[in-house]
Each structure stands twice: as C-alpha cells, then as structure tokens.
C-alpha cells in the first residue's frame, strides 16, 4: 500500500541512472550523441565508378577494393579535420600498412590536387566525387570519414572524424589484422 508512494521516486531514479550511464559513456569518449552508426556495416560496398582525381580519363570503382583489405577515406581540401588526420595517413602509407583509397568529396579538382601536392599524397588513388552522389550512396554525413573494406568488398567498419594514432591502434589495427586472417 505504502509502496505506491515510492513509484515517483523509483521512476526518477531510473531516469537519473540512464542519464548517469550516458554521461559516463560520453566522458569516456565511448558515446557521442551526434555520432551516427553506418547502415552499411557487413554489407557489400556500394558500387560506383568515378573519374580518378589525377587522371580524369581513368575510373576508380568498387572492383579496386576486391582481394585485399583496404581503407576508403572521404576527404576534401576544404575540410579542416582532414588536415588533422592527414599526417597520420602519410605515416600509414610510408609504413605500407594498408592500401588507402580516397574519395575526394564535393571538391574542386584544382584545389584537391594542390592540397595533395602541398601535404603529400597517401592515397593509392582518389576518386573524384564532385556532386557528392557516391558520398550519399556510402551514407557519408560529414568529412572526414574512413571505411574499412574487407577482401570480399564488404564494409566492415566506418569511422567518422579524424583518425589518430591512438584511434588507429584501438579500433583499426585489430580489425584489419583479423580481416587479413579471414578467408578471402
């Protein structure tokens, strides 16, 4: 009988517990309310065929991913955070760790080429997505974004935001090692 007077308190404590849980996750960096999970995880990478940024007469497309574990990095010369992750991608390319393909997203070709000239080009090749349609197919909602594509051409992970060494070691490296050991 008296227990019903405890109902409001109980409801409130449940709510407070939820908030505490969420805030803690946010503080640890495990949770960002604005971060959107990809709808394409474990699905075949959306097919596309775009001109190569450097050689407009050649195309880059989904077949380039097949048979190897690769990264697909969405970048643009106007994107400030891309500069943040760029040195690390250069380092990855130097270590020859994994082939990195680029999606130059909604950019001017001249600006993009100048950007790569000045800062270095870590990409095996960059696809030139002037209208951003391939970006939409891949569910891109901001720049930079980095996808991990497995040997069979399936998307296995999507990371929004700049990739740093710490994030690489925590999230990318183990997954890539595991994917390499899988049957291609």
């Amino acid at each position: 009988m008296k227990a019903r007077f405890l109902i409001p308190l109980g409801l409130f404590l449940a709510l407070a517990g939820l908030f505490w849980f969420v805030l803690n996750q946010m503080n640890r960096g495990d949770y960002n309310p604005r971060e959107l999970p990809s709808a394409l995880i474990d699905k075949p990478a959306p097919t596309f065929s775009l001109p190569n940024l450097h050689q407009p007469d050649q195309t880059i497309g989904t077949p380039n991913f097949l048979g190897q574990v690769s990264l697909f990095n969405v970048w643009a010369s106007w994107c400030v955070s891309c500069r943040v992750e760029h040195p690390f991608f250069m380092e990855l390319a130097r270590r020859n760790e994994v082939p990195i393909y680029g999606l130059n997203y909604k950019d001017e070709r001249a600006d993009a080429l100048r950007w790569l000239d000045q800062l270095g080009n870590p990409y095996v090749a960059s696809a030139f997505d002037f209208e951003g349609r391939v970006g939409i197919d891949w569910g891109v909602y901001g720049v930079p974004e980095t996808f991990v594509v497995d040997k069979a051409g399936k998307i296995r992970m999507r990371f929004p935001g700049p990739v740093t060494e710490a994030i690489w070691n925590r999230k990318f490296a183990p997954l890539i090692a595991q994917l390499r050991s899988e049957q291609g």
Binding site: F5, P8, L9, F12, F19, V22, Y31, P33, P37
Partner: protein, 656 residues
C-alpha cells in the same frame, strides 16, 4: 575590476544562500524565533548580491570589456546597445546568472508578499529556495563562471549569434525563466508543507496565486519563443517539437495540471498528494530541461555548447533536489488524509480526468524526447523522433481534454446530474458539431475530419462557457456578481479554444510556394498577387543585407501591403540570416522570405499564405490574461487573513 566585483558578489550570494537555506530551517526545528526571522533579511541580501553580480556582467557588456571571456564570446564592439544587454543571457554562463537572479527575485517577492503568513511557514519556503540557489550558484562558480578573464584580452568579441539579435530574443528567455523559476515557489511551498507534515487547504490557497503567475510567465514565454521562431527563422514554422521546446512545454503541461489540482485541493480538500506531486514535478521538469539543454545528451537546434562535466554536476544536483523531494514525498504523503468525497458525475472527476490527460500528454512528450537516447544508450540503434510522432500522439490526447473542458468547469462540486447537464448543453453540442462542419466549408470550400473536429471542439469550449456565464449572470447579481477568478478561468479556456482554431486552420489551409522570381515578376496565390519590385544592398550596423521590395495587391488591384524581406550577412560570424517580410492580420498572414540569389538578378523566394496563424499567439495572450485575472482575485488578497480558518466544506462561490 568590475568583473571581479561581480565574481565577489556571486560568492557572497552563495554564502548568504547557505545561511538562508540552513538557519531558518533549523530555527523551525528547534523553535528559535531569531533564526526563523533571519529568512526574510537573508532573501533580501541574496537578491542584493545577485543584482550586483548581474549588474557587473551587464556593465562588462556595455563597456565592451573583452578581457572577460564570456563577453568576448558573445558580444562585439559593433553590436547595438540593446543587443549588448540581451547578449548577457545569450550564452550558457550568463543565462545561468539570469536564472539565479530570477530565483533571487522570486524569493525576495515571497519574503515581501507573505507578511501575513505564519513565520515558520515562510522560513521553510525561503529556506528551500535558498537550497536551490546554493546549487545554481555553486554550479556557476565551479563550472560556468561568467566573470572568467581572458589573458591576454581579446581585441574584439566574436559577436552575439545573429539569430539572437532580435527583439523576440531580448524578451523570450527572461519570460520563460520567470516561468521555470516561478515554479520553484510552488515547489518550495509543497516541500515546506511536507516538512511540516501539514498539507491542508491553506497551503493550497497560498501557493495558488504564485503558481498561476509563474504559469502566466511561462505561457507568455513559450508563445514568444514560438512567435520568434515563426518570424525570425524564415521557415514559417511555429513549433518543431525540438527537445528544447519540449523541455519548456513539459513543465507547462504539468503547471497547467497543477493550477487546476490546487483549485480542487483548496476547495474540496482532496487530491492533496497528487497536487504536491505535481508541484514537485513542475519544478523538476524545469530543472530537467536545464539538464537536457546544457549537458549535451540530446541534440537540439537550441542547445548550449555542451559539456558532460557540467552534465554530471547538474545530474548530482537533480538527484539531490528531485530525489530528495520525492523521498520526502514517499515518507510524508501516506499520512495525508483527503476528506472531500464526490460522486462519479462531479467537477472533481472532470478536473481529475483533465489532470490525467495533461500528465499523460507530458509523459508522451517525455517519452518521445528521451526514447532515442534510451535506445542509443542500450545500443539498440539510432532513431529520430520528430514532429510526425508527436503530432500523432499529442492530438488524440488533446481532443478528449477539450471535450471535458466544454462542460467540466461548469459542473457542480461533489455531485451533479448527468441528465440535467445533457439537457443544458445539448444545444451547444449540436451547434458546435454543425459549426465544425459548416464554418470551414463556407470559408474554404473543403473540410476534413481533423478540421471539423478542431473547430467543433473550440466552439464547444467557448459555447459551454457562454451557457454557464449566462446561467451565472441570471442567478447571481448580474455581471458584477461574477468573481474575477471566474472571468479568469473563462478567458483562459477561451484562449485555449482560440489556439486550437489557429492550429487547426493554419495547419490545414496554409498555402506555400517556393519559386524563382526576378524583379518585375509577380506571383498569384490565395487571391493575392505578389509583385517583386527590386532588391537594394543595404548596410546595417553589423551586417550587410540584400533588401527586397515586394508589393502585394488584392484581386481588385488595390494594394494590400509593401513588404521588405531581407537576406543579411552578419559581418563578424559571416552568418547568413533570413529576415522574413510579414503582413500580419487577424485572419491571415502573408509571408515572404528570400533565399539564394539564382543569377540574372533572380532569387529563390518563399511565399506563404497562412490563415489564422495570429490566433496561436492571440490565444496564448488570452490564456495568460485569464491567469492574471484569476491570480488577482480579491479572495487571495483577503485570503491570508482567514487563511488559518479556511474551511473545507462546500464553498458557495464555485470557481476554477
């Protein structure tokens, strides 16, 4: 120097708040009159220091002191003076200080206007408000000090967000905060009564006018916010079900339930636990809103720059205040005895049903607001809950509420007779149904079930009031025999009906056109012709604008209005802003906004014809005025004298 004085004043305010929260309360426990008597002077001192602190911040803004981090972030030397002052509450820290100041103001008002209340009651109320003040001042001083200095000082400020450089945003936040914080008075009265263990009709009578006034502020605050969104955002929308809007709407719904429940508790000495619970909830939801807006757990268009560390602090504070008060409720409420009995057909039942609907509506809004967060937290996926959901669940809850509203307030306490009521109101019912179908049909040529229902319910509410007013005038001594609180109730309910008409008609019959227009071209819509004459380049104090010249003519060629929509670029933040041109009217608004230039001098132009949209805000004003009328009833001025002897038996005058 001045910012340091402000900072110091904040610290002093905190010290006073600690005294205010503890000493008078201890005085009531150990019966020390000197300690109890400290409550009022403490409230005054608290107010003084908060005014000093707030004044120091205002001064820093007026003097363009960009060595103060908060000023540098939210102002600029080119910002006009009125916006430099409103910029004080344009960001997180300053708006918190405004919160604190308003809390101080309400506490001071309680201290001033409760001379005839028992001293120990006042002491408890002021102590509880002091407790809340401690929390907010600590929060400010520890995590969000508005007086923090920048070393070296910024050469100039980053400017106030252009969206906030508007009259609506000068008045909207203070109004809304007056409402949010005003519910702290009802809360403090409830907690004081729980501490004392005496929940009776006197307690309800004392809190009623305070609660109504807070509710009035909140009503005006929400209406202003909606009006601002309508004319300033350039989308022509007026309610978006954004989490922050919901955060203000939820306490309003509970506040509405509370003022009605208080009436029953006062008149009939029943629903008392329920009323106390609502008083706790109303203020708790105000605090919850603060948490949601400032902790960053939800994404909203209005959210402040978020910071989880601040979130943890507010959460701890919520646990203390809400958890503490609900625990107190669980401990004390079982002993409360309600004595008023009533039959199934009685005004009490109507009031209770209305209350349940309002609380359920709040629950639905809360559910929709938090559900994405819950799913996300448990890794069950990421979803969005937006207007389609809220409209789908909210409207069906409001329809029965309006149905009750037509007759409920006119039923007798304790027991009424269903057959008599049916006889008395069947004519209104018939007229409402017919009006619901015919009026839209005559005016617009079409009617949908939704429109018919909306108009019929609005007529039903107003018609019910008219019938009851007529009866009352015949039985009492004419119009002057009708108490002011009754006028208040009738006005507020009519206001709601007006809002319903506005929402219904503007949602159903608005026409909209996004077109490419070049100067010299014109467009016909809803019987008007919109002529695009020219565009000038105009320089404002801190922005550059493309200034459009439009003429609107009626079917017969006569000029209806000249409108000047603008596309502004604010220089400091290089942020584009759409300033719509609006020709307002009682029965329709004409709305023009300019989008992007499309080359060859042409522009993307949005033109709206919005029927009855003004009724939204007109209705809200009526509701607020109704509240003010009710709160100024002479009963409350005389109440205090007879407070101790308040009766709980049948009351001759039946008011809301």
């Amino acid at each position: 120097m001045v910012p340091e004085l402000g900072h110091f004043a904040l610290i002093l305010a905190l010290c006073v708040a600690i005294v205010q929260a503890t000493v008078p309360l201890a005085g009531t426990v150990w019966r020390v009159p000197g300690w109890i008597a400290l409550a009022r002077p403490a409230a005054s001192a608290q107010m003084l220091f908060l005014v000093l602190a707030f004044g120091a911040l205002v001064w820093s803004f007026i003097a363009n002191d960009f060595s103060v981090a908060y000023v540098a972030q939210n102002s600029n030397s080119a910002l006009p003076l009125e916006y430099r002052i409103s910029a004080v509450w344009g960001g997180h820290e300053g708006s918190l200080l405004l919160w604190g100041l308003i809390l101080g103001g309400w506490t001071f008002a309680v201290a001033m206007f409760s001379r005839r209340l028992p001293d120990d009651m006042v002491a408890r109320v002021i102590a509880v408000m002091g407790l809340i003040s401690i929390g907010f001042l600590l929060f400010m001083l520890l995590t969000s000090n508005p007086f923090d200095r920048l070393v070296p000082p910024a050469p100039d400020g980053r400017d106030l967000n252009p969206l906030l450089q508007d009259f609506g945003l000068i008045v909207h936040p203070p109004m809304l905060y007056m409402g949010y914080v005003g519910f702290s008075v009802a809360f403090a009265f409830a907690i004081a009564a729980l501490i004392e263990g005496r929940l009776d009709a006197t307690w309800a009578r004392w809190s009623r006018p305070w609660t109504i006034v807070a509710w009035v502020f909140m009503t005006f605050g929400i209406a202003l916010g909606s009006w601002w969104a309508y004319y300033e955002l350039g989308w022509g929308g007026w309610w978006f079900w954004d989490p922050v809007e919901n955060a203000s709407f939820m306490p309003w719904l509970i506040g509405t339930a509370l003022i009605h429940s208080l009436a029953v508790s006062e008149k009939r000495n029943t629903f008392k636990n329920w009323t106390v619970l609502l008083a706790i909830f109303a203020f708790s939801l105000s605090l919850l809103g603060t948490f949601l807006v400032r902790s960053g757990v939800l994404t909203s268009v209005h959210a402040f720059a978020s910071d989880p560390a601040r979130g943890i602090f507010i959460l701890a504070f919520l646990l203390l205040v809400i958890g503490g008060s609900l625990a107190l409720f669980a401990w004390r409420a079982p002993a409360v005895k309600s004595t008023g009995h009533f039959q199934l057909v009685a005004r009490e039942t109507a009031m209770l049903s209305g209350n349940v609907l309002l609380v359920v509506a709040m629950g639905a809004v809360l559910l929709g607001t938090l559900y994405p967060l819950i799913l996300d937290a448990f890794a069950l996926g990421k979803i969005s809950v937006g207007p389609p959901y809220f409209n789908a669940v909210f409207v069906p809850l409001m329809a029965p509420l309006l149905l009750i509203l037509g007759v409920g307030p006119h039923m007798r306490w304790k027991q009424d007779d269903a057959a008599t009521l049916l006889r008395r109101y069947r004519f209104v019912l018939l007229v409402s149904v017919v009006a619901g179908i015919l009026l839209p049909l005559v005016a617009y040529g079409t009617v949908t079930p939704g429109v018919g229902l909306g108009v019929a319910l609005a007529c039903w509410v107003v018609g019910g009031s008219v019938v009851d007013l007529g009866r009352r005038v015949r039985t009492s001594r004419g119009l002057r025999g009708v108490p002011r609180s009754y006028w208040g109730m009738t006005t507020a309910h009519a206001g709601l009906a007006v809002v319903v008409v506005g929402v219904t008609l503007t949602s159903a019959y608005s026409t909209e056109s996004d077109v490419r227009m070049a100067p010299g071209e014109s467009l016909e819509m809803a019987g008007y012709t919109f002529h695009f004459d020219s565009v000038d380049q105009v320089a404002g104090p801190n922005y550059d604008a493309s200034f459009g010249h439009f003429r609107i003519t009626a079917a017969d060629g006569s000029q209806v209005a000249r409108l000047n929509p603008e596309k502004r670029i604010y220089r400091v933040q290089t942020m584009p802003m759409t300033e719509a041109g609006i020709d307002g009217g009682l029965f329709r608004d004409l709305f023009i906004a300019m989008g992007e230039p499309l080359g060859d001098g042409a522009w993307a132009v949005r033109i709206y014809h919005k029927p009855f949209i003004a009724w939204l805000w007109l209705g809200a004003i009526l509701m607020g005025c109704g509240g003010l009328l009710a709160a100024s009833d002479r009963r409350y001025r005389l109440a205090v004298k007879s407070a101790q002897a308040a009766t709980v038996g049948p009351v001759a005058t039946a008011e809301s």
